[in-house]
Symmetry: C2
Subunit: 245 residues, 2 copies
């Protein structure tokens, strides 16, 4: 029996929508989740806007096993993810004492002026009974409510948090990949590749054209959790390719 | 009177969801659209799956002025965007003679084997009455149906297409940006920055922390189409920053 575990990634950040920065978190999470057998069905990038955050959480939370969000949990006025997630689940915010202690230790250790700690304590107001996600760098935690994992947007901190977290996630069947790059335009191999797909219905086959030294090339990618079928399909693919070379 | 024009970007591609490649098209389009006064309200990355494509088009098309899609319009069996868009709008596919001629010229010019042109002609079956988007590189066109602009996933081709296309798009008010990078943790400036935001409600203010040489720094970004307010707010911001330096 195959075990399918699905997720959506929700990237919250005006700076990405207005083209100021390229998102790196979606790519990082997509790779990491693939490695532990969690299929990403959708990535959404939305604004730092309460209605948008609430609407999107409501649309996604019942459709997938996991939701991973990044962004908007810092100390400034434009960080509104924490309050918005609380509203989406109809939860009160409460001061988490454990986080107050952690933030106080951290800001004392870096000898921050007292005004800085005071503002930072905004990050200790978290939804009631939320489970915390440990932040080994700057101590302001992420948190879990139901099936949504709320993490910050700064990539180095999000990645450190996810590294701590990933062992607790339950993945499904691992999908393996076999791929081959050929110096052929994809339209040349299209017909044979479509026939191959018909012969192996539980192997997902994708064709990705790219241009190298002014010539069309194609990356042919096979993915499946059925390893014997994957190996057989890949062997057939190599025979097909050899006919063109 | 301010003129607001909105859009969503729909990236179609399994290879991005499974972490094989990082999307580049969303970032390119977000930057380009910002430059012509079209606000990106949402970016969605979805699978090469007919139901997903149709559902997402239906969800997005009435909410925004423009929808820009990339991916899935090539010649192989895993490219299903064209048929899916046609179904989403209940349109028949028809052979576009002008595209048949263009593809025949192109594949003759690169001396492709005849089987290649035959497969490539799949890309000439387009929704009835669709308006074509010119492809200066490999001639297989993008197309427009109602308010959705359908483009390929290969970044160089998508970008060339968009360069031809953008002059025909109608933008709204141009938003200008003023920003300042400070060697301060964002929590230190959070309180003053929130007060500044309250004083300038039509200037959007964002704070983006980053780590440089092991120290916390912050990029403070002001955005508005009200240029006098933007300049005044930025001048006030510089005064605030000077208090900390």
């Amino acid at each position: 029996m195959s075990k399918i575990i699905t997720s959506a990634i929700l990237i919250i950040g005006n700076e990405i929508l207005n083209g100021s920065v390229q998102d790196a978190n979606g790519y990082f999470l997509a790779k990491e989740l693939a490695n532990i057998g969690i299929i990403v069905k959708q990535i959404r990038i939305i604004a730092d806007d309460e209605n948008e955050i609430i609407t999107n959480i409501h649309q996604l939370k019942d459709s997938y096993d996991y939701i991973f969000s990044t962004g908007g949990i810092g100390p400034t006025h434009d960080d509104i993810t924490i309050e918005s997630v609380a509203k989406a689940f109809d939860l009160e915010l409460e001061m988490h004492q454990e986080t107050v202690v952690a933030l106080t230790e951290y800001y004392n250790a870096i000898q921050a002026p007292s005004g800085r700690l005071k503002s930072a304590l905004k990050m200790a107001y978290l939804p009631k009974d939320a489970k915390l996600i440990y932040n080994p760098i700057s101590r302001a935690p992420g948190f879990i409510v139901e099936n949504i994992y709320v993490m910050p947007g700064v990539p180095s901190i999000m990645q450190a948090m996810f590294d701590n977290l990933k062992h607790s996630l339950i993945g499904g069947d691992l999908i393996e990949i076999r791929s081959s790059e050929v110096h052929l335009g994809e339209s040349l191999i299209a017909k044979d590749f479509a026939l191959l797909q018909k012969n192996y219905l539980d192997v997902e086959m994708g064709s990705y054209p790219f241009i190298k030294e002014n010539k069309w090339c194609t990356k042919l990618v096979l993915r499946s959790s059925n390893i014997p079928a994957l190996e057989q399909a890949f062997s057939d693919l190599k025979s097909i390719i050899s006919n063109y070379e």
